[in-house]
């Protein structure tokens, strides 16, 4: 956690995203126009969230296999950081929706799915606060973490693709610009994929700082 090459990479990629994201030309699509630049922020924030929640659930599974307080701390820290990124993703999405869909909230299936997923992870935080005993808290929240992670897939990826949706990929609107191919403009791809990596590394950095701080705090309290 103390090596720094990937932190330098995160900084460079983020600086690249924030400059190229505003300066490179974008396709002038109806309804979107320049707001399509939000694609470099909104989607990578959700990608970073998925990376962080994945790290969190891996640590939860490892904890259940072999209980180690350090794994519980890592799991919780990455879950918390993932929630922050999910709220950022939701916020940027709502701002984009106001511009392109004329309302902050349209009860779009992916919007509703995202809200449900965020509430489930917020409940994870509430669950952890409600259990006093450290071992019991770690075990119960590890199990809940696995459930919460599994719920992400139907709410964010499966159900929104099975029904009509304002988001790309819904029924009758197949295709996914986030997966490249013909759906994504090649100039946008040059900024988008580095942005996904940059935001994910940024999330990883914040998550590791959270975890290191918590571990340090527990070590000092025990001393």
């Amino acid at each position: 956690m103390r090596s720094y090459w990937w932190k330098i990479l995160a900084v460079l990629l983020m600086l690249y995203t924030f400059t190229a994201g505003f300066l490179t030309p974008v396709p002038d699509l109806a309804n979107l126009h320049q707001s399509i630049r939000n694609f470099y922020f909104h989607v990578p924030m959700w990608t970073a969230m998925m990376v962080l929640f994945s790290i969190s659930v891996v640590n939860a599974v490892l904890f259940l296999r072999k209980p180690n307080p350090r794994l519980d701390v890592l799991s919780a820290a990455f879950a918390r950081t993932g929630v922050v990124f999910s709220l950022l993703g939701l916020g940027t999405g709502m701002i984009w929706a106001k511009y392109s869909w004329r309302a902050y909230w349209s009860n779009d299936p992916k919007q509703v799915g995202a809200a449900i997923a965020i509430l489930i992870y917020l409940a994870y935080g509430v669950l952890r606060q409600s259990i006093g005993d450290q071992d019991k808290r770690a075990r119960v929240s590890a199990v809940y973490n696995i459930f919460a992670y599994c719920i992400l897939f139907p709410t964010l990826f499966i159900l929104p693709r099975m029904v009509q949706s304002l988001h790309p990929g819904g029924l009758g609107n197949e295709g996914n610009p986030a997966l490249g191919g013909d759906s994504l403009d090649p100039i946008m791809a040059r900024v988008f994929f580095p942005a996904m990596l940059g935001w994910s590394l940024l999330g990883l950095w914040i998550g590791t700082l959270q975890a290191r701080y918590q571990l340090l705090k527990e070590k000092l309290l025990q001393a």
Binding site: R2, M14, L15, F18, W205, R212, Y213, L216
Partner: protein, 37 residues
């Protein structure tokens, strides 16, 4: 780019740079505490 776009870009870059400086300082501080303990 119109003037509004330039303002958005400058604000976003300022926030990003501020966040990066904050994370770097925090990382250094935590590293020092870890070495001490």
């Amino acid at each position: 780019m119109n003037s509004g776009g330039k303002v958005v870009m400058v604000v976003c870059l300022t926030v990003l740079i501020g966040l990066i400086l904050y994370l770097v300082r925090l990382d250094i501080k935590i590293s020092r505490l870890e070495k001490k303990n």
